[in-house]
């Protein structure tokens, strides 16, 4: 966690030595008196070179990263697709591969006829796949809010949270054994009746509801990630076969948890602001109540059929686990400092085909281009 240092007589020194270059951190000094700090810094760091600028800032006035923030700061590993080399490599690889062969659009819109496996107990992977659906929709909604201009810094933060939601949705599918075409088919070609989103999703519309929805989804993902990490650690390395959560899941699941906890903090700050501000208080209270009362189904996924990528032998999660997860969610959501949560006392179940027009519109828009092309063109 970023922190505020405590050594109040230390000053960090920044200097610019050439025109046009940026300021550099050059070191620090100790000065018992603030009014002497700049002069002491000049004698320490400005004796030899001509400086253009010398800035001194008290350490206790700074917010600095800690060692455990490194993961959050590793933008290149977290968002590889935004490096110039990423599209360049895609283009090169796809030039080398033979053009896509037009195949029948098998699987597209086949959702209604697909076999379901409701008799089986849901496993951890079922819970993850359902949350991946929520994250995918949430990520897309947040993407639209990048240009909502509540504020510029906020727009950028929303952009990152949205991209991470999309990235996590994709990572979950990879962990569950999907390759990229299968993941795309799942996100783009599945009929709404084959989606198992939380009922929260139909409320992801206006900003207060997005804040509330973002908050409960981030909390749910963090809770399930924590549970999965525990399970994976006890399972050990021998149980990593197939798509079953095992040691191989650990790095990705821990990263997802850490990022979602940051998202959770972001939404909590928003929830506090909207709840405290007279002009938005009532509207947010209503949105928050409506979202939380729908959030009982976070861990209520029904079993997905094997055709959807889940191994038949996935260990059942069982009703006891849903209760545990739901309690952890309630604890995490309850701490937000906002208005009364209406999260149900116990866990509920998910239903196929919900998501309302929010999901329906998103799905049909997502298909407009895709359906005009032969399968395999887009990757």
């Amino acid at each position: 966690m970023p922190h505020i240092p405590t050594d109040s007589d230390v000053y960090e020194v920044f200097a610019q030595s050439g025109h046009g270059t940026a300021l550099n951190h050059v070191g620090s000094i100790v000065s018992p008196r603030p009014d002497a700090a700049w002069h002491l810094a000049k004698e320490t760091y400005g004796r030899r070179d001509d400086l253009v600028k010398l800035w001194v800032v008290r350490r206790t006035d700074m917010i600095v990263s800690s060692a455990d923030d490194r993961g959050l700061l590793a933008a290149k590993t977290r968002m590889p697709y935004r490096q110039p080399g990423f599209p360049t490599a895609r283009r090169r690889d796809r030039s080398a591969s033979p053009p896509a062969v037009a195949a029948p659009r098998e699987g597209r819109d086949s959702g209604l006829t697909e076999r379901r496996d409701d008799a089986r107990e849901p496993g951890l992977t079922d819970l993850w796949l359902a949350l991946a659906d929520d994250l995918f929709v949430l990520g897309n909604r947040l993407g639209e809010h990048i240009v909502d201009y509540i504020d510029l810094e906020e727009a950028l933060a929303v952009g990152s949270i949205g991209q991470e939601a999309l990235a996590h949705a994709g990572t979950i599918l990879v962990l569950c054994g999907f390759d990229q075409p299968a993941a795309d088919a799942r996100f783009f070609d599945r009929a709404q009746a084959q989606w198992q989103v939380s009922r929260v999703v139909e409320r992801l519309t206006d900003w207060p509801s997005l804040v509330a929805g973002g908050l409960v989804i981030a909390a749910a993902v963090a809770v399930l990630a924590e549970q999965t990490a525990e399970a994976a650690q006890t399972a050990g390395a021998e149980q990593t076969a197939g798509a079953e959560p095992g040691a191989a899941w650990l790095p990705a699941i821990t990263a997802i948890r850490d990022e979602q906890l940051v998202h959770l903090d972001h939404w909590r700050r928003w929830a506090r602001a909207l709840a405290a501000w007279p002009e938005t208080r009532t509207e947010f209270a209503r949105a928050y109540a409506e979202v939380t009362e729908r959030a009982g189904d976070m861990f209520g996924a029904r079993p997905q059929s094997p055709a959807q990528g889940v191994p038949a032998g996935a260990a059942p999660a069982g009703p006891a686990l849903a209760v545990t997860l739901h309690e952890r969610l309630a604890a995490l959501v309850g701490e937000n400092g906002g208005p009364g949560s209406r999260l149900p006392d116990g866990p509920g179940t998910r239903t196929w085909g919900v998501g309302g027009s929010a999901l329906a519109d998103s799905l049909s828009r997502g298909r407009t281009v895709r359906d005009e092309y032969a399968p395999g063109v887009f990757s």
Binding site: P87, R91, L156, A183, A273, A276, R365, G376
Partner: protein, 295 residues
Amino acid sequence: MPMATAAGHRCYELWDPMPDEVREGARRFAAVQALNELVGVLQYVEWLDRAPSHTRRQMLMAKIQDEVGHGHVVARVAEDLGMPRERILLDYLEGRTKIHNIFHYSFATWEEVGPGLLLTNSAAITQFQSLAKGVYLPYARALRKVEREESFHYQHALDLTHEILTHGDAEQRRRVQEGFELWLPRILAYLGPPDTDTLHTNRMWQVGLKPDGNDEVRQAWLNKIIPVVRKLGLHVDPALVRQAPSGEWEFEMPDWAQVKKVIANGGPSSQRRLDWVRRALDRNAPYRRALQGVA
């Protein structure tokens, strides 16, 4: 002084004493760019939820976020020079400022997005490389940050265009070609009217904020982008643009009266952009106040 321009201008940092013309010019340049980044991105946003794969959607979202980020860094430069950020969008809504001609259009097809992106991005990069030689250093540094991100946008645009040209059907490839031919003249116009003969009378050139003339930037851009476009497999119609034996690029001169009309909110999507911004600001005003009021 590594940042000194060829003309040997003095360079300025935020709190340096500087001529009013430099301060006001830099503020205007930064504010105009901020507005264009923030409104210009909307034509891509319209396609975000139609982006046809998970990876494409991620890349497009990253690009959209970057554009808003460009708006942000240059708005910060303008703010430090006394232009509050709220005024940047407000001036636009109230008709005091205008967006570039290219942002008054929308993409009609997905096939048009790739070439449109490619041409816009590469022209913007060329222009920013020129402006980054200007005398107001905080703006120059902001532009260098922007340029780094533009190189991702450029590669993304190449990939998007290439994907359809290699794997799309004949009709889809034809629409890419049409998109290129539609956007090329618009970008030629975006780079401004010819000014080789008048540049030396331009005050912004004289004070060192506009290091190169429009014609120079346009030639530099064509030098760079036309070979790239050809290599992608697009046909460059000599009626649109051709290279003279001297190496100079010739092109059909834009109808400047028409361009001016478009810029004065007379383009096909002008009203749509204004409406979007107005609605977003109205809708979100209470939330913005909540964020500021509680902080």
